[in-house]
């Protein structure tokens, strides 16, 4: 049967195997409107039918910072140097929150979207991407109250030095988002088959916070617990948070070696996550 003029003018082919690392940016670009609409949906529907609405975005980091200040600084007596402990905690929590919300949001991509994924095709990566972007908006709002407190303490005469590193702060946040995305994609893929991972994420994130220098300076753990300091030192998140505080509050230290290490881990995690995610998206609907 002479069917077609030539055999290689197919628009696309559906096959069981797929190529390594197919991010398929062209396809993602075609669906950019969907990405935008998902972000819009996430942002406007989070606090529907609540009285306080978007205020919840502010209440949560505020109260966490207050609690941390009371427990870690007032009770446990962790010193934060010239910086008011509340502001110190606020900076750590705001940045940390962005990571956890990215990780939590993306790590159940497949499980929570099984209904829609089972019916229509669109590049699956749109969903975790939209989570990272809508959380960035949430982060922006939370960052604004940090700025408000920063200005308040400045007027109170606290010794707050902004340094030029702050220009790199957006890059730091993007790096954190990508790290959360990569890790989330990895976990979401594994959750489709083995639900154990979703439990692991639940308390794992909480434990990780204590290893990420959120409520103490990195320096402190090295001096107080020299035997376990490596746990924090090998944690890329600790460098991000420590660097963020250095940029915003001029406290602690910034380590170029640590940041390079963090960047390398981020890139590795992202590509491994992408690889596993691509492999999973093809047939996850059979196992979810």
């Amino acid at each position: 049967m002479n069917t077609s003029n030539n055999t290689n003018d197919w628009l696309f082919e559906i096959t069981p195997k797929n190529k390594f690392f197919t991010l398929n940016l062209k396809e993602v670009w075609q669906y950019r409107d969907l990405l935008f609409l998902f972000v819009k949906r996430d942002v406007i529907t989070v606090y529907k039918q609540t009285v306080l609405g978007p205020l919840w975005y502010l209440i949560q980091p505020l109260f966490t910072a207050i609690t941390f200040t009371i427990i870690f600084n007032n009770v446990a007596g962790i010193s934060t140097g010239p910086v008011p402990p509340f502001l110190f905690n606020m900076a750590g929590i705001t940045v940390w929150n962005y990571f956890t919300s990215c990780l939590n949001g993306t790590s159940n991509t497949f499980a929570s979207n099984a209904g829609i994924f089972g019916k229509v095709y669109f590049p699956r990566i749109i969903t975790p991407l939209s989570v990272v972007i809508s959380n960035l908006i949430k982060f922006g709002i939370q960052f604004l109250i940090f700025v408000a407190f920063y200005l308040y303490y400045n007027f109170q005469g606290a010794d707050l030095g902004l340094n030029s590193w702050v220009l790199l702060f957006p890059l730091l946040i993007i790096m954190m988002g990508i790290l959360g995305l990569g890790l989330g994609m990895l976990i979401s893929s594994m959750v489709t088959k083995y639900r154990d991972f979703s439990y692991l994420v639940g308390f794992g994130v909480q434990l990780l916070m204590y290893l990420s220098a959120v409520m103490y300076p990195m320096e402190l753990i090295k001096t107080k617990l020299p035997g376990y300091g490596w746990l924090v030192e090998y944690n890329p998140l600790a460098y991000i948070i420590e660097s963020a505080r250095y940029m915003l509050l001029n406290v602690g230290q910034i380590s170029l070696l640590g940041l390079t290490y963090t960047l390398a881990v981020t890139i590795t995690v992202f590509f491994v996550g992408l690889l596993v995610f691509n492999k999973t998206e093809k047939s996850f609907i059979d196992t979810v």
């Binding site: 797929n18 949906r41 019916k119 229509v120 669109f122 088959k193």
Partner: protein, 422 residues
């Protein structure tokens, strides 16, 4: 003649693993991975039963689809038919890229969009208008495309008044209408439609079928259509593929495909047979004989119903009756035969009773039979067969005829109309 093939399926197979995911799957996964890194074939591809849900298989793996090959030409409306579990939905899922085939490949020269189940991705908290954009984008439209068709979509859905109300306040019917409206304005080269006709009220169904005919006929779009509604398949499709246990058993023009499907042994819906142990009187077999000899019965033609009864002892006052029930479950015809009218079952053995309805005047639609076998003397019902045999009444009248589904069950044919101007 050179054919313009827009879609080509080559050796598509899909294997599913039955049972639960647990530690067993981990060992299989590791084994599969071990074979993979040594460059060997997946060991679990060799095993697997054909997909027959009623028989107990020997293996944990089944083939939902096996070696499916077909080609679709541009502008063709292909009907995919087969009973439940034949693999139709799996095939559509593979075609719409929701899941990947285990082996084989599909090649396409056009964008594929599917109307698998309408309403996917609706968010209750968002308004109808916002959901049109979201749903359209999920189905692959750009914001610009949707915006240009927004008015048409809203008008087609018939939900103008509620368009700025959150969808969670909609009735289920309205949600479906809105969802179908979005999907109906998709413009891919290949459209996949699965059982969407079963939604909405009569008026909306007519609108939906009309829109679908426009899509396939008017615009020359390629459509893959899956439905159990043979009348819809017949009127929409040009060619058919019949699936059975995950394999293509027939491919050809739509009329012979439907005929093949309805005549397969399993699908003889016009016959009911019982496999009871004959300890008490029972209904052995019921057969509906339509004028065409198939599932379809032409309006105003004689319908025969054969009922075979068996009694292991002599009955004193047996009675047999049947109902014809509409697809909504409403009995529309009741026929009865008593012993004193025509004697039967007064001795041990089988009896065949035939009932002929002259010029059956039921409205077009699918009907089923309820058969009852009882004894008035013992005041006991021996056996009944509910919703046993089904058949479909078709109407092919000459004059321009207009009817709506569910508007009646009985069509009076000898009414004389007189019109007098007052």
């Amino acid at each position: 003649m050179k054919k313009d093939i827009i879609l080509k399926a080559e050796n598509i197979s899909k294997q599913y693993r039955l049972g639960q995911v647990g530690t067993g799957t981990l060992s299989h996964d590791l084994n599969r991975w071990w074979h993979e890194i040594r460059g060997k074939e997946n060991p679990y591809l060799k095993i697997g039963d054909t997909n027959d849900r009623s028989t107990k298989g020997t293996s944990d793996y089944v083939w939902a689809l096996q070696d499916i090959n077909f080609e679709v030409e541009r502008g063709e409306v292909l009907g995919i038919i087969g009973k439940n579990g034949a693999g139709k939905s799996t095939l559509l899922k593979i075609l719409s890229k929701v899941t990947a085939p285990t082996t084989g490949s599909i090649k396409s020269r056009g964008r594929i969009a599917s109307l698998l189940e309408v309403g996917t991705g609706f968010h209750g908290e968002m308004t109808g208008r916002e959901n049109i954009f979201l749903n359209g984008a999920i189905l692959g439209m750009t914001k610009k495309e949707i915006a240009s068709k927004l008015d048409e979509i809203i008008e087609f859905s018939g939900c103008e008044r509620y368009i700025d109300t959150p969808v969670k306040r909609y009735s289920s019917g309205m949600t479906v209408r809105l969802a179908f409206a979005v999907a109906a304005f998709l413009e891919p080269e290949i459209l996949i439609i699965d059982e969407v006709l079963a939604v909405g009220d009569a008026e909306f169904q007519k609108k939906a079928i009309g829109k679908m005919q426009d899509i396939s006929r008017g615009d020359g779009r390629t459509v893959l259509f899956v439905s159990h509604n043979m009348a819809a398949v017949k009127s929409l499709c040009t060619r058919g593929v019949v699936l059975e246990h995950g394999k293509v058993v027939f491919e050809g023009d739509i009329d012979s495909s439907i005929e093949h499907y309805l005549n397969t042994e399993f699908n003889k819906t016009n016959i009911y047979e019982s496999y009871l142990e004959p300890k008490q009187p029972y209904i052995q077999r019921v057969e509906v004989i339509t004028n065409s000899g198939s599932f379809f019965h032409d309006f105003n033609k004689d319908l025969k119903i054969k009922i075979k009864l068996f009694t292991p002892f002599n009955l004193v006052d047996p009675a047999v009756s049947y109902q014809i029930v509409s697809s909504e479950g409403i009995p529309v015809v009741h026929e009865l035969n008593l012993f004193k009218e025509i004697p039967f079952c007064n001795e041990i053995g089988s009896y065949e009773l035939t009932s002929q309805i002259k010029k059956l005047s039921l409205y077009p639609g699918v009907y089923k039979l309820n058969i009852f076998f009882a004894d008035n003397f013992l005041k006991k019902r021996f056996d009944n067969a509910l919703e046993a045999c089904s058949f479909e009444v078709l109407l092919s009248e000459k004059r321009e005829y207009y009817y709506q589904k569910n508007s009646a069950v009985y069509k009076e044919k000898e009414t004389a109309w007189t019109v007098k101007k007052i």
